[in-house]
Subunit: 157 residues, 6 copies
């Protein structure tokens, strides 16, 4: 039966020793969705259609957060993040954030992709919260994952 790799036989937190594993190229994609009232979303879309900074601020926040995952998530390793990308797609009452993270490392890069999407979402929330207190962030999950011994993965809906 599977066990939680970050907890030892006494239930204590631990990192996973990856010093014996080979570094391979790994790519992870993730998403987060920010749901809000259509008129709130319009303010962001209008800013984006103009020359506004709203999406750029969120993009930068996501990129920077991906580089600090080891400080935020206690049992994560410090990985060299060779690329990270943050994209936005507008729906009627939802903004979807899609991220891609790339490393060459002995362990996976999922948490970097997920953290980039999540912090970008929190940044959108922060910019819009004065006009809409019912914003909700959700649907945060992995989209796909390649590289690594455990095999590739694609999220199926």
């Amino acid at each position: 039966m599977p066990e939680l790799t970050h907890l030892d036989e006494h239930g204590q937190a631990r990192m996973v020793d990856v010093s014996g594993k080979a570094a391979t190229r790994r790519v992870a994609r993730a998403q987060a969705v920010v749901g809000m009232a259509p008129q709130t979303l319009s303010l962001i879309r209008d800013n984006a259609l103009g020359k506004g900074d709203a999406l750029a601020v969120a993009r930068v926040a996501g990129i920077l957060a991906a580089k600090r995952v080891d400080e935020l998530i206690p049992l994560c390793h410090t990985l060299p993040l060779w690329d990270v990308d943050v994209e936005f797609t507008f729906g009627e009452d939802r903004l979807t954030i899609t991220t891609t993270a790339v490393t060459v490392a002995p362990t996976g890069i999922e948490m970097e992709a997920l953290t980039a999407a999540t912090v970008a979402a929190l940044t959108i929330y922060d910019m819009a919260k004065a006009v809409d207190k019912r914003i909700e962030i959700g649907e945060i999950h992995l989209l796909s994952k390649t590289g690594g011994k455990s095999g590739d993965f694609t999220w199926e809906t």
Copy 2:
């Protein structure tokens, strides 16, 4: 019509000058939900029922993240965080994380409560991801907010 307070008339990112506002006591509560397969959740619950560290690691991650919101969310102010609390409630296939953040400051503490909940959720994800790649984080929103000029707020479902 309301406008995005963090964007000026040219659409450029800005902080909001709060130097003229009085510091008042403010409390914000927020939540995040981590959905996963019941057998994955059992591993975490068993760890928690034993003397395991799983929830403590996530709690500490949430508390630390709340103290670093100003580094993660670009346009947030640095507030003195006088208290932050992170609680967990088990459902059948979901773990609900509820946070409370307290400050005495000229501006609100919502982002601290939301970030604590979100980073605690990502930490749970990290510990369980090796056994379940279909974990999903969602329902991240404010629960309530008191103190401050814009009035109290309670999320109604």
Copy 3:
């Protein structure tokens, strides 16, 4: 004769004890200039005139750096940064970055304004360095300073 306040009578580094001073509103303005070939500057201007992120990335970098001055400059105090603003002005072969920082604190906010301008300039450099290795950053200085016991100051050219 004036002395270096951050060095004691033995020449040793020290912070300056401000615990007995009253908190007052203080504003500091500063600038940095990024000099580069006109065609390099055109690439940035074109990006800015389109809906590009170049200036927003530099602006966010400057804002975030202002919030971390106490970590970067060893003898600086941790001040509550209640506002910080980063503006760009295009010349023919130079991009001028002007910043304003605001606090209510017992000591001045100059380093926050200067650091915001400087890190924004380094971020512009980073984005343009692949096309122009002769970029030069200069003219970094205070523009003005108000509040505080030592009196107001305006840079005169």
Copy 4:
């Protein structure tokens, strides 16, 4: 025609994916100059000629900043900084700071050398600002660069 590598075809900020590039040894040298009144500079020189800490504080600030470039400059990669050196040369009314940064990595180390010089300069500024409000930092540029596919570079005056 050359393009800004950190901006994609839509003008959006991005890191540059270097996961396919080989790690090679790279060295970058940079400088910053702190201009100030001769009597201000004397205070620093006297401190340095005694056993004072002034230059050591600035040196340490520069070294530490070089190790955090990935947090300060949003689109920079996290590189292993295998060496960094910060030197000071006194002129009549100027203090020149020269830095050298070394890595073995798939991308260049210029920003680390530049950031070390710049933050060392800001630290000197901070220590002297109480006695001289007309300090100016300038002439921040690359001195040389070796290693890497784009060829070696030396700044010619």
Copy 5:
């Protein structure tokens, strides 16, 4: 019977809510001792007697660490550190580090003084470890504490 203030009735970690307490001036003094072979200590003393940087590097490390206690010690509050001082005293085979930290805050500043002493000690260790693997750090404790409701304290030997 006294209880651990950072653990609630379920044994769970928590911060202590200090939002209802008044800010008062508080001073804490602490120490750490670095024990090493006399010839190792001589190398450091010789460097200090010359114009070397050894003690300045450790002093700066201690000062910077005091400003980041809230990031290092999970349940500590973020306090405004209005002054911190790091002093060194040479013995025959021991270097004593004494620190003083000052705040105006609703809670105490002991951890800042202790962390400054400890990180300064680790920095000395780091500089000397290549010549002496039997360095030992000890006697880390509070020396005194003033301000705050729980009364003043002086360590008696």
Copy 6:
């Protein structure tokens, strides 16, 4: 005669250039001891025997600090920390913290093991300080070290 590797011939602080050294697997073990009144220690032991968070909070603090050694100790390199482990052993009036750090790198990992032990000790101190002001941290030293050109080392008592 041996010299301090982090200080050059002028006594100035420097990092050590390791860009020419091969990366090898290295393991370091270290300890710290927290001495306190038996009744204080009982409070921690009781918390640990129940389902309390006390040791988990200290463990997480130690793990996170090990990942930030390059920010805390000015002349340390940034190393990939592939594993770190923090264990606790109760004595009558002392809690011993033992750590193990693992890397594959061109230089050693001792400071990471020592810093993890030390910050875990400071975290225990923080949680117990309200009930016992005479806590003392000591006996911080390396236990063993393997890998690297300078040979293996074991602390002999």
